[in-house]
């Protein structure tokens, strides 16, 4: 049994079988099998060698015309090694004597050989070290490939263990079968964390080497409350977690009863609670959990799931699906926020060196007008059928806002001429998620109808900390004085210009910080639907007067530690009673 500590990013407990995705690094854990299974491992080894030989043979045939002498040599060498009887014998014996798994035995033997080769002064031979590692990788790929189930053919709930999970992968998660997620990398606001929270899947990120320490098929426990992953738990641990999970479910059931109650403070102030969604299917959950609309409808999935640019009709249908659920409640659609991903990078002549600060989001859209206009048309069409608002991401200057509005006006003109219906007065807003936008919020507020504060990126850019980098996870803190002061300034700018404003970053679902946000004056929060009941419960147990006091206090501190320690003490009774 192995216990790994990581960062808890989505609550809940999962106890199930693990599926290990794409372990690129291929570090093989020391694994042994029971004596009776050694024979099966030998068979797997034989098959892997056979497959590897066939694969190289096919490669040679396919590339015969194109390869030069050197490459032909290299693959000839690989083939010789793969056919070497002594090599197979050595590995086989290790399996039989030590009961190692085929993967581990392959690794041990080949690395030993590689070490031998590396220790010679003769460069010709020491160059062969690369060949040995290559052969190891090829064999391991065949061995692990035969055990890896891809996520499309699941028949029972599994825990997905991966280095990280890409947006494309999460887009294809069937919630019925993905019961938990554990990743090596990531932070509290990495995409994995956000999706897991939205889908209500227990998740733990930044677990050192969980992919190397988990074998496909292992039983794992993912504890999304305490941020722990247990591999191959013993019976006692499983029993304890089952009890813990049952208690958690009871707690959730209690919370769900709050759905029809208003999110009002003890001194009678109403707080708007909305949902952040990525897929139309989450609209239902938002409604179920008491959300009064959508504060952030991320539209990137339309571009990532498909292999083509989405058509206007595809956009429109995705928006309609959400509108159907909410009637006249507001739906805030964010125009595509892509960059540093295969959609935008694929189209580039040369990859960007720093894509997160590069041509992405609204910048990308302003340079790809037909794509931008297509999305705008679809949003405008949807506005005829519900309370739709449009929002632009990653705004850093007023010119961008004016340009985007001007293009919107053009699209409206076209649609008018064509007799297509839309809401003339559809509200237009921007994300405030960069220091530039936050510091000039006053000017921007004069030209838009609302703000949406994206705390994830705002914190990242203000503190210069990569929010998905597990090495600096502790530096990423909503409690940093710079962040708190910026948030207050943005709120005040919105109030002065008399425009709407809500918070849509993960901070809105962070129970420690909700009181501070309310105390600063924020009265609308948009968050991952599964967290809505919990946040509502907190709001209903606080007075706005208390929140204001807390906000004033934390704004006077100079360090995040002071703020966090203060908040924890103040909220102790309220936050931790249920767990």
């Amino acid at each position: 049994m192995e216990i790994i500590k990581g960062i808890a990013v989505s609550p809940g407990v999962a106890i199930c079988s693990a599926v290990v995705l794409d372990a690129e690094e291929m570090r093989i854990p020391r694994r042994t099998v029971k004596a009776e299974q050694a024979g099966a491992e030998v068979e797997r080894l034989k098959k892997a060698f056979g497959d590897a030989v066939r694969e190289v043979n096919n490669l040679q045939v396919a590339q015969a015309g194109q390869w030069d002498g050197k490459i032909k040599d290299i693959f000839a060498v690989h083939l010789h090694f793969l056919r070497d009887k002594t090599l197979q014998k050595q590995i086989r014996e290790l399996i039989q004597k030590e009961r190692y798994t085929a993967e581990y035995a392959v690794s041990v033997v080949l690395r030993e050989i590689a070490t031998h080769f590396a220790s010679t002064k003769d460069t010709y031979i020491s160059e062969r070290v690369t060949d040995i590692y290559d052969i190891e990788r090829r064999l391991l790929r065949h061995l692990m490939g035969s055990r890896r189930e891809d996520l499309d053919h699941l028949t029972a709930p599994v825990a997905v263990v991966a280095h990280d999970v890409t947006p494309t992968q999460t887009a294809s998660f069937d919630r019925q079968f993905v019961a938990g997620i554990a990743t090596d990398a990531g932070g509290r606001t990495s995409h994995t964390a956000i999706v897991a929270r939205s889908l209500g899947i227990p998740a733990v990120v930044a677990c050192t080497n969980v992919t190397a320490r988990t074998a496909a098929g292992d039983t794992v426990i993912i504890d999304g409350h305490r941020g722990t992953v247990v591999i191959n738990p013993d019976a006692a641990t499983i029993a304890e977690y089952q009890r813990y999970a049952a208690a958690g479910l009871e707690h959730l059931a209690e919370l769900d009863e709050l759905a029809h109650l208003p999110a009002v403070t003890t001194d009678g102030v109403n707080i708007g609670l909305l949902g952040n969604i990525e897929f139309p299917s989450e609209a239902e959950i938002t409604k179920l959990k008491g959300g009064q609309g959508i504060g952030l409808y991320r539209t990137e999935f339309l571009y990532l799931e498909a292999d083509h640019e989405p058509t206007e009709e595809e956009h429109y249908q995705a928006y309609r699906d959400v509108l159907k659920v909410f009637g006249r409640e507001p739906i805030t659609i964010r125009t595509v926020d892509l960059g540093a991903d295969k959609f935008t990078q694929r189209r580039r002549a040369s990859p960007e060196r720093n894509p997160f600060l590069g041509l992405r989001s609204i910048r990308y859209c302003l340079q790809n007008l037909s794509m931008f206009k297509t999305q705008m048309r679809a949003i405008l069409r949807a506005s005829a059928e519900g309370n739709v608002r449009i929002m632009f991401p990653l705004v850093t200057n007023l010119m961008e806002v004016r340009q985007a509005k001007w293009i919107l006006a053009e699209v409206k003109e076209d649609m008018e001429e064509q007799g297509v219906e839309f809401d003339e007065n559809m509200p237009v807003g921007t994300m405030i998620e960069t220091p530039a936008a936050a510091l000039t919020a006053g000017d921007i507020a004069d030209e838009v109808d609302f703000f949406s504060v994206g705390t994830n990126d705002l914190i990242q850019y203000t503190l210069a900390v990569d929010r998905v980098n597990e090495n600096v996870a502790s530096l990423y803190s909503p409690a940093h004085p710079a962040v708190l002061h910026l948030l207050r300034e943005v709120l005040q700018a919105a109030r002065r210009a008399n425009i709407g404003i809500h918070v849509c970053g993960e901070m809105a679902s962070d129970l420690e910080f909700v009181p501070v946000l309310l105390g600063m004056g924020y009265d609308e929060l948009s968050l991952a639907p599964p967290m809505l009941p919990e946040v509502k419960k907190l709001i209903r147990s606080l007075s706005l007067a208390e929140c204001r006091r807390m906000a004033r206090k934390v704004l006077s501190f100079d360090t995040d530690e002071q703020t966090i320690s203060y908040l924890r003490t103040e909220l102790e009774g309220l936050l931790y009673e249920a767990s």
Binding site: Q60, K72, D73, A76, H80, T86, Y124
Partner: protein, 102 residues
């Protein structure tokens, strides 16, 4: 893999690697391919180390460079023919021709 050693005849030959690249991949592969086609057992010895001449892995581990002295031993049915053919491969001075695509 058990090799039946019919000790009919045993042949030994001292060879010196002349190729400046030592017993690198092309001659090594060639050696192993040829050796494997013979019925007899084939072994190469360098100092105290003794390896199976039909295994590329073991041959490579010998780390035979230019000037290395090896003892080639063949024993079994076609050992006589084997020792001649294989010694010639080991003593070749240069291997310029690209490997034949097989």
């Amino acid at each position: 893999m058990v090799e039946e050693q019919t000790q009919e005849q045993s042949f030994e030959r001292r060879v010196v690697i002349r190729n400046p690249h030592g017993l690198h991949m092309r001659p090594a592969m060639d050696f192993v391919d040829r050796a494997s086609r013979f019925l007899c057992a084939v072994s190469l010895q360098k100092g105290g180390e003794r390896v199976d001449g039909k295994s590329i892995m073991q041959l490579a581990l010998l780390r035979a460079t230019q000037g290395t002295e090896l003892r080639l031993t063949t024993s079994g049915q076609d050992a006589g023919e084997a020792v001649e053919v294989l010694a010639a491969i080991l003593e070749k001075e240069s291997y310029d021709s690209p490997a034949e695509g097989r």
